[in-house]
Symmetry: C2
Subunit: 299 residues, 2 copies
């Protein structure tokens, strides 16, 4: 995210896929020409309890973000992935399954792991009724993963016009959250909700969709929510939780899962000289569902 | 709670302890002269998935509250416990351990189970760092239970003057939530938080006290909270959950636990003709920590 806190220069991408051009002499897991990925992190302390639990995203000394992070090795800050090349320690380099369409793999490294991780951590299984709230870059991956895990997937959206797309992505049903009657019919019926809405919103109607002892996980809302009613948690012993990307081990598991199930992101490939148009289209929600920049177009 | 939704007549108590005066011919678990308790519920469908899971408080057909509930057997509504006598189906009658001070047992039936249930459900164990937020009728029981479970108990309060009492109830430490430096020192260190605050408040500072993958459970706030920041859940994969009293089986377990650990509520015994004064003192937070009405004083 580029904003007032940005450190320049910055080339912000953190969903990066490419071929290895060279490896250090001690590198064991990757070799020249391998198709690999780099996500939101390029380093962590590797020693704290979070790192030992394979949750480097919660490193107690702070993980090093792929851009705007503090570069412990070179000094200064990390630049990001919209570049010809990036140097990353091998522990933070992921292997991309050979059968996947490499143009559409990059968004798995953030949008993918952000939605896969909570579905895996909360142990979604065949037959669970899973709601994915919001159909954008994150939501479209959430549908694909929940569907591949065997869940009965309900796309929950304010936009009836998204119903067709949701179903072709793998949703079994579409629930229009503005339709109070439809919301009532689904009340108390969900085993899990994955909330991908990135902005302030009212979570109370969604909490009423949950079964007793079930959880809604927030992955997008990095700002204050509308006031939540305590009673919506107390009645039915419900939970609301958060989840942030995933650790490196789980990110590799996610990529392997994608290999098995032939899952990639739905993307539109663009050349670097069209990014201003693309940026405006992202702001207008006019992308299905991620732009991927062909870095060859830099040449 | 008496309010605009009350059905009259009503004698609202739902923390009731007394001796059995008579049993029906098919009653197996209780006999004349037994010391027994009745809590917040007197009936449920006994057939739905919640009832089968021993969570009658979440009965899908609606549990029957001890007052203002719909009386399926007699018609009309249930009246409550500030009375000489109450007739209850045996499944909803609890056995009181003989070693407990019977004057101080009644509050276990609501304040007790409300705090015991989340500590038991979230498996609090020896050595866990548990914060109890708010020192009132619920909070004082939360301290006693968490202490008896072997936790390192921290009383979290806005009121420094409550520190002494908190420690004599079993708290190992007292954290003044208005003290920002103290809050920072405890950041990310709690395995569990039991939030007993009954009114609208800001949960964000408490969420920052939790360790990664830990939970704050709300048992008191039956109104909208101040806006919660999604980032406080996302960073550290934290949860906020709710909990409502407990099922009958767990209520009996709680009473048995109290018997083993000699736990009762701290109470002030009053005669029925002083309830108006007592009510005002409750409103003024001037009670340590529950008034108990001696129903003999009705005679």
């Amino acid at each position: 995210m580029i904003g007032k806190n940005s450190k320049y220069p910055v080339v912000p991408g953190h969903e990066i896929v490419g071929r290895v051009v060279a490896v250090g002499k001690d590198v064991k897991n990757h070799k020249k020409d391998d198709l690999v990925g780099v996500g939101c992190m390029v380093d962590s302390c590797q020693e704290c309890s979070a790192c030992k639990d394979d949750l480097e995203q919660f490193c107690e000394k702070g993980m090093v973000a792929t851009y705007n992070g503090k570069d412990k090795h070179m000094g200064g800050h990390t630049f990001g992935g919209y570049s010809e090349m990036i140097i990353v320690r091998e522990e933070f380099v992921l292997s991309v399954p050979k059968n996947l369409d490499e143009k559409a793999v990059a968004p798995l490294l953030c949008a993918g792991i952000t939605t896969y991780s909570p579905l895996a951590h909360w142990k979604i299984k065949k037959g669970d009724k899973v709601g994915v709230i919001g159909l954008g870059g994150l939501g479209h991956m959430g549908i694909k993963f929940a569907d591949a895990m065997g869940a009965h997937v309900v796309m929950i959206t304010t936009s009836p016009e998204k119903a067709g797309d949701a179903k072709s992505l793998g949703a079994d049903e579409v629930l229009i959250s503005k339709d109070e009657d439809a919301m009532k019919k689904h009340a108390g019926s969900f085993d899990f909700l994955l909330n991908t809405v990135p902005v302030k919103h009212d979570v109370n109607p969604y909490l009423q969709l949950l079964k007793r002892d079930s959880t809604m996980v927030m992955v997008g809302a990095i700002e204050p929510l509308e006031p939540m009613h305590g009673g919506n948690l107390i009645i039915g012993r419900k939970s609301i939780a958060g989840s942030l990307i995933g650790g490196i081990k789980e990110t590799q598991e996610m990529l392997d899962f994608c290999g098995e199930h032939n899952i990639v992101s739905d993307i539109e490939l663009i050349d670097i000289d069209t990014i201003n148009t693309a940026y405006q289209r992202v702001k207008d929600s006019d992308v299905k569902y991620r732009f991927v920049i062909d870095m060859e177009s830099l040449n």
